[in-house]
Amino acid sequence: MEKYETHTYDVIVIGAGGAGLRAAIESSARGASTGLICKSLLGKAHTVMAEGGVAAALANVDNKDSWETHFKDTMKGGKMLNNWQMALFHAKEAPERVRELEYWGALFDRTKDGTINQRAFGGHTWKRLAHVGDRTGLEMIRTLQEKGIHSGIDVHMECTITHLIKDGDSVTGAFGYWRESGKFVLFRANSIVLATGGVGKAYKYTSNSWEYTGDGHSMAYEAGAELVDMEFIQFHPTGMVWPPSVRGILVTEAVRGEGGILRNSNGERFMEKYDPERMELSTRDVVARSIYTEVEEGRGSPHGGAFLDVSHRGADYVKRKLPSMYHQFMEFADIDITKGPMEVFPTTHYVMGGVKVDAETCSSTVPGLFAAGEVAGGMHGANRLGGNSLSDLLVFGRRAGEGAADYANGKSHASVPTELLEKFTNELLEPFNNTTGENPYTIHQDLQDVMQRYIGVFRTEENISKGIEKIEALKHRAKTLKIEGSVMFNPGWHLCRDLKSMLIVSEALARCALARKESRGAHSRVDYPESDDEVLGKLNSVVALKNGEMDVGTRPIMQMPEEFLKLFMEDK
């Protein structure tokens, strides 16, 4: 009998949010045996928390909408740093991916004509977001979950993958543990799709769930893959502020999409000052900075935020269109949003940076390794538009599933040396064996404080450098962790591995933020307030592991061909 429980598939998909589920469905449909592995129970992934909608140029509400406009909006929102090919595929394919959800049983809100209804959102020229009240993510994950369980996929729940395994240059498997039993498990596969989501748990105030610890980012990095655009992390303009227990929880952009107005303590509608044309529906980077500035300059709400008011739309309308928000504020903050304003402040929401992938197949720079969804980089450039994440998951989930299945086709499985697995096992069990060491919870809290304070909405060289110094110190402390208990469902033990991932992504974020000496999209340097379109606007930051060290460099952005460049000239 083998020492380690082993499963063998053509393709494994790590992560079962929107991207992972969509990838697994596609991979299985193309005849590849497919294993889907997730840290939580199925259907609990972070996608479930997406609220406002999924962006697709269906043109059901505004018939002038087209993929061309969606493409342009996305590139402009990303300050032209996006992988244009990803933005193009995304704009062209999103409508079919959304309709496909309907074929699989999703029930979107309807127009009067009985088609899928669409709402306005920041940075989108037309009403473009297909939605279900303010619980669009839940609808999406249930639909994909339902399709997935009837697609011949094996789902492995509550399993954490800790290491990718390579044979030469290519990935050949993944190693991890069952959260329940603590037993180790090996997955052999010819191709691997990372769909592990984002990194928000490195921050103190975040809208992200506990799973968002950057596992995919860090495993890809350790396997030698390049990460791109890591300085760009999105602070969603509107997170809850009060009470402290719920600080950071998302207040959907749909509040502004449905007519919500932002005011400061003087009652001024301050977006008139920052973006008089688009006002509250400006892009997220702009709105986040505006709220931050109002509070910094002493015009904040009692708990240090801005007022967001949608009560003028009437109680019935608000309850029908924003039911989760109504309950969220009622239950957590004792505030009736149909009667008065909410208090909001930016919260860490989304990482634009991620594994550098090919737009066509989602393959990374490591053969056999693919990435889709938030863990992949490039699609959103320097700033993501609201609603473009759910569509990204669908478009590139499908492409990654296809790419991985095609890559795996006809390949035989490589063997995995037992010594390697023993090395992983020893490494993972070390915190039980250490006689002295740090508490992983303490280091996590310290890291969250550092990221919140030094790598936030506004950045300076001095601050970022201090942040890096502190991350280095935390890395050192995290080398010797100590925990109690057994391997059975032990959150303290789980955190030890997650912490390692968070430290890697935090360092990447900080080092890229230091290197980009300009302000662009979500990256705002107080010491370099202007955008440098001539030089830095033509470069993506790239992070890779070289000789055991984090190497930060640049690559020229992908050149857009003339036929698409023309689209942007028309506006001038």
């Binding site: 939580s40 129970l41 199925l42 609990k44 992934a45 972070h46 479930v48 928390m49 309709r99 074929y103 699989w104 049983g105 029930l107 979107f108 809100d109 309807r110 004509d113 009985g114 088609t115 279900v132 009240g133 619980r135 839940l138 249930r142 339902e146 369980i149 009837h150 789902v155 729940m157 329940e180 769930s209 506990w210 009060w242 009470p243 402290p244 227990s245 719920v246 929880i249 998302l250 989760s324 969220q328 239950e331 957590f332 903050a333 508490n439 992983p440 919870y441 303490t442 809290q445 925990i483 109690e484 208990g485 057994s486 059975m488 469902f489 032990n490 959150p491 303290g492 033990w493 955190l495």
Partner: protein, 243 residues
């Protein structure tokens, strides 16, 4: 800042006991925050499932002072000053460790329900009033608290015969989908055991999404089943067709 006393179940399927912890209470704090405090300061290995901490994922179902609750949604200031707070795993499912239970049975049941099956050449026109019935059931966050309080599952452990409220509304949602073509009435009766429900509405009361599980889901489903099996015309037709 006041201090709360919590007694939390610590143990596994074999052994277990209550362990008492003192936790400082901050404004607006919820029971899940108190459990985090325990993890960070006393017992790092305290097992509890959670994901979103915003009442959207349905992972942190526990029994707080004997009542099934989402730990993320139960505020500490809902208890009287000095009131002892007990936290137990949900009772209808086997304990794995501490507050974590084995809910895998639910996923097995879910898989058996015949999926949405539209007709070919559908035009996909649906009106808001037609989708709203299904949308209500699709609010379900699968916290399984309705499964936990259902006496058929909790007290009589008839998981062999009854799929539980969560899956009654899943069947109902498919049945009420304007463009679905399958008939799941036989499945509802024979496989899912809709007849077992005697409408005590415990499931509806506990639902954190305020879904009218019994009134809008189970009762209409029962009526459809009755129409099929006890309608004299269908009965005659079945006799003639020999089904």
């Amino acid at each position: 800042m006041s201090v709360a006393k919590l007694r939390v179940f610590r143990g596994d399927s074999q052994n277990g006991e209550e362990k008492e912890y003192e936790v400082p209470v901050d404004e607006g704090m919820v029971v899940l925050d108190a459990l985090f405090y325990i993890q960070a300061n006393y017992d790092g290995d305290l097992a509890v499932r959670w994901n979103c901490k915003a009442a959207k994922c349905g992972s942190c179902s526990t029994e707080i002072n004997g009542k099934p609750r989402l730990a993320c949604k139960t505020r500490m200031d809902s208890f009287a000053e000095g009131e002892l707070i007990t936290v137990y795993p949900i009772k209808a499912f086997p304990v794995i460790k501490d507050l974590v239970t084995d809910v895998s049975w639910n996923y097995e049941v879910s898989k058996k329900i015949p999926p949405f099956t539209p007709a070919e050449n559908t035009d996909w026109i649906m009106y808001q009033e037609d989708v709203e019935r299904g949308q209500e059931f699709r609010k379900c966050i699968e916290c399984f608290m309705c499964q936990n309080v259902c006496h058929i599952l909790r007290d009589h452990n008839r998981k062999d015969a009854f799929a539980g409220p969560r899956f009654m509304i899943k069947i109902a949602e498919r049945e009420m989908h304007p463009l679905d073509t399958l008939d799941r009435r036989e499945f509802a009766r024979e496989e899912a055991g809709v007849g077992f429900c005697n409408i005590t509405k415990c499931c509806t009361e506990v639902c954190p999404e305020d879904i009218h599980i019994t009134d809008n889901g189970i009762i209409p489903l029962k009526e459809r089943v009755v129409d099929k099996y006890y309608d004299p015309f269908s009965w005659l037709l079945r006799k003639i067709k020999g089904k």
